[in-house]
Symmetry: C2
């Protein structure tokens, strides 16, 4: 029902980069600070996204990360294929090794259409759409600053 923290960070980071001016490398440190996530761990995730051909990386001064493909071309399905593993939507709800239309667990027929909806949604959500949504100010990618409630 839930994504790994790795996937969450990856998505957040990519959206953040997509909201920044194209072509200017974004620092890992800056992303981590903005999202409020541990920068060392984020660095490893970024590396993974580089190997998965979603990002360019540049070292040294003026270095950082840039999106590789045009933002309209990258959708969440591609991201999650990297962070969760390629066939992460194929698993049986009950954990059966084989659970296909021919021989299935008793939930298969109900679960399948929902899974398809999820996959469709993940394909539909491109970095561009998400970045625009964030830039509009109506949606957030980071936690709210928790005001002083403890007084």
């Amino acid at each position: 029902m839930i994504l790994s923290r790795t996937s969450q960070y990856a998505i957040q980071a990519l959206i953040y980069i997509a909201t920044q001016p194209r072509g200017e490398p974004v620092l890992n440190r800056e992303i981590a600070a903005h999202l409020g996530v541990p920068s060392a761990y984020l660095a490893k995730i970024m590396q993974n996204l580089c190997k998965g051909n979603l990002l360019y990386s540049f070292r040294g001064r003026l270095g950082g990360f840039c999106l590789r493909e045009e933002v309209e071309k990258t959708d969440l399905m591609q991201v999650l294929a990297l962070t969760e593993g390629k066939g992460f939507t194929d698993d049986c709800v009950l954990g059966l090794k084989v659970c296909s239309d021919e021989t299935a667990c008793p939930m298969h027929s109900r679960w399948k259409p929902i899974k398809e909806k999820v996959v469709h949604m993940l394909h539909e959500q491109t970095l561009e759409k998400l970045a625009v949504a964030v830039q509009s100010g109506k949606y957030r990618i980071t936690d709210l600053p928790h005001a002083a409630f403890d007084a």
Copy 2:
């Protein structure tokens, strides 16, 4: 996207008990053997289901586990509330602490209806329905015996 192994075992075990004659306690050992899962670990899960009022347990000779409520009354949502934690469907996809209709992550509006479909499905699937499906022989609750492919 996936349930914990604990949840998978719990569901499988409950369905198995539901396929057995009512009133006769079922042995943990028997369930574990039939499902092919480690019996010590399953025992702990069963305990949890007892504490959560889904099972009766009886010790000593002729002991074992019986379903507590009538099978039509127990649905998967109740089971998962115990094994995954009560509000396991409330979490934000991106892991935001607060993600409601008022202030949300950019995926919230797309994710919410899917989540509702999942919750509805989990409420609909009662142990009775699942047990009947298994008893019909059309659906499985255990892995296929892998024939000798390695020769």
